[in-house]
């Protein structure tokens, strides 16, 4: 199988080589580069340091640093502190989450909602990604992708209002149905789980499309040909060849969509109704509300963070299978 993949992508590598060769060649022949490389090539530790230094420093500073600030706030009894107050540390904010169904229930609702949205996005977007990656001529692929990409640049909030224009009681769909004489009274479509999901998928479909495309595109055509030569029907070809080989894309796409949709704030919430309260809204309320609840908001965010990352981790292990050798 490795060989097949090689042939499939050898072309890509060859095409791109020309672009890199000029400046790479110059750099590679400069004495400074030679000296540095000589040093690195001889020293395994130095090589490891180069690989490790920037990523670890970045993660430590900018990913963990701010979260530690939040962690610190989440353990405080009150915030902001006034001069003269000694900070009082407590775990009560965390306990609050588990004690009260008030917070716990919307959280569960949020997780379920995100899973459903992720699954729906996968089902909707997969055929599209497959179509672009495998069905149309390679020369048209970029154009087909571009067409789907363009709408995302209009901005989240604008796109939310455009969904409102579509689904409102005096929106386009109701106007059309009324024009056709199919309804007398408008069908209320906005401010329901339907409109919320419609909008969230509308906003984040791209996060599914690009990873799926990038993994489907690299499946070698020779494999598909071989499968049908061996008598595999379309369904079998899909189940046995395409699906397993696009697993990486599914894992990445689902992770991106799940992580984005569980943290949705602001814009998409405009499409929800009185019974679609999800967890980020609760957190927002704690920060935006008329009382200062920063510690509780911070604690809840950290809980959400831990649980959603664990969920994604588990998902990657289970679905990713052998391909994802993370540990």
């Amino acid at each position: 199988m490795t060989n097949d993949v090689l042939t499939g992508d050898g072309q890509g590598a060859k095409q791109s080589r020309a672009r890199y060769s000029s400046w790479i060649g110059k750099v590679a022949h400069s004495p400074t580069y030679r000296g540095t490389i000589g040093l690195l090539a001889e020293n395994r530790v130095a090589r490891l340091v180069v690989l490790l230094a920037v990523p670890l420093a970045w993660i430590a500073f900018f990913n963990i640093g701010p979260i530690l600030q939040m962690g610190n706030i989440s353990l405080l009894a009150n915030y902001p502190l006034m001069d003269g107050d000694e900070p009082v540390y407590t775990f009560s904010q965390y306990a609050l989450f588990f004690q009260e169904s008030l917070y716990f229930v919307p959280f569960l609702r949020s997780v379920v909602f995100s899973i459903v949205v992720t699954a729906a996005t996968l089902v909707v977007v997969y055929p599209v990604a497959y179509y672009i990656g495998k069905v149309i001529r390679p020369a048209s692929r970029n154009k087909a992708l571009l067409l789907l990409l363009t709408p995302f640049w209009a901005g989240e909030i604008i796109r939310v209002f455009s969904v409102i224009m579509l689904l409102a009681n005096r929106g386009a769909v109701n106007a059309l149905l009324r024009e056709l004489g199919m309804i007398d009274r408008p069908i209320p479509m906005l401010y329901t789980y339907f409109s919320l999901s419609f909008g969230v998928v509308y906003l984040i479909a791209l996060y599914m499309l690009l990873p799926l495309y990038s993994s489907i595109e690299k499946i070698p055509n020779s494999l598909l040909d071989a499968a049908s030569d061996l008598g595999a029907g379309p369904l079998q070809r899909f189940r046995r060849v395409i699906l397993p080989l696009s697993r990486d894309g599914i894992v990445s796409g689902c992770s991106l969509v799940f992580l984005t949709s569980i943290g949705v704030f602001a814009a998409p919430l405009l499409l929800g109704g009185p019974n679609t309260v999800i967890f980020p809204e609760i957190i927002a309320q704690l920060f935006h509300g008329s009382n200062d609840k920063w510690p509780a908001g911070a604690a809840f965010s950290i809980i959400m963070l831990l649980i959603s990352l664990t969920t994604v981790g588990l998902f990657m292990r289970v679905v990713g299978g052998r391909n994802v050798k993370l540990m």
């Binding site: 490795t2 993949v5 090689l6 992508d9 590598a13 095409q15 791109s16 890199y20 490389i37 490891l48 690989l51 920037v54 990523p55 670890l56 993660i59 900018f62 963990i64 701010p66 600030q69 939040m70 706030i73 055929p127 599209v128 179509y131 495998k134 069905v135 154009k143 990409l149 363009t150 709408p151 995302f152 901005g155 909030i157 604008i158 796109r159 209002f161 224009m165 005096r170 386009a172 106007a175 509308y202 996060y207 690009l210 990873p211 495309y213 990038s214 990486d248 894309g249 990445s252 992770s255 992580l259 943290g263 949705v264 602001a266 957190i283 927002a284 963070l305 990352l309 981790g313 993370l326």
Partner: protein
């Protein structure tokens, strides 16, 4: 390619693709239609049409400078975040490194934290390390948010990259760096382009981080949110339509360039 065309499932897929295109475009077309409405609020029906919103917007210095500022930020964020993201992905997919899962999870943190919370914690953090608010802080905040997207996209392909590719390059005399630029990076190709698109998109669309980290120069989302709080006017739709046309044009141009350079 021979068996792909002219069979029923491909007809279905073609139809599905165009239905998806419609799903993405129909709401936006409504939005664009509204930008011609002669009223201070968008709503159906559109009784009278006007070009006044466009005339107003293209003369609006605040809008033009906001677009320029947002583009500048997005460009820098994309470059920096892609470099760092690929670097982290290389580390997290390296067989020899212990604790890859932890590195990966930590690298993804900023994608999970809701914007509001990340913005506040970042604001407190940069104050603690004495970085002033302003352009640099915005770029930092956006980059932190964008890196996980690059990491996840790059991992998509790195995970399945055959080690034999690198070995072959080494056998041919390439050192690690040459092998990276000539083999790994081209192999990452489409995934990387996707990652860069996400970077630019999240940066250009970001409101809440910008609000907390920015100074007194207005970005496009800040301007649009401020305008919306005064009522959803067709002026905002005109702005969005212009942005859409511009990005569409840039995309077409880039696509053509790429196609030419290949031929």
């Amino acid at each position: 390619m021979r068996f792909y065309m002219k069979n029923p499932q491909n007809v279905f897929l073609t139809g599905f693709y165009w239905a998806f295109v419609a799903y993405l475009f129909v709401p936006l077309m409504l939005m664009t239609a509204m930008s011609f409405k002669d009223s201070n609020f968008i709503s159906f029906p559109i009784d009278s049409f006007t070009m006044k919103w466009y005339v107003q917007v293209v003369q609006d210095e605040q809008f033009l400078s906001a677009v320029g500022y947002s583009l500048m930020i997005a460009f820098i964020v994309t470059v920096v975040a892609t470099a760092i993201g690929v670097w982290i992905a290389l580390l997290a997919s390296n067989e020899a490194i212990w604790g890859k899962a932890i590195i990966f999870a930590l690298a993804c943190l900023p994608a999970v934290v809701p914007g509001m919370i990340q913005a506040i914690s970042m604001r407190i953090f940069i104050r603690a390390i004495d970085v002033p608010t302003g352009t640099f802080a915005i770029i930092l905040g956006h980059t932190v948010h964008a890196v996980p997207f690059v990491v996840i996209m790059a991992m998509t392909r790195l995970r399945s990259m055959p080690a034999s590719l690198i070995d072959a390059a080494r056998d041919l005399g390439a050192d690690n760096f040459i092998a990276f630029f000539r083999v790994t990076l081209p192999y990452l190709g489409p995934a990387l382009v996707g990652g860069m698109i996400f970077c630019a998109l999240t940066s250009i669309d970001d409101f809440v981080r910008t609000f907390f980290l920015g100074g007194y120069q207005t970005t496009l989302p800040m301007l649009i949110f401020a305008k919306i709080s005064g009522g959803m006017s067709p002026e905002i739709n005109a702005m969005a339509t212009l942005v859409l046309i511009a990005t569409g044009a840039v995309g077409l141009y880039a696509e053509r360039r790429v196609r030419r350079s290949r031929n």
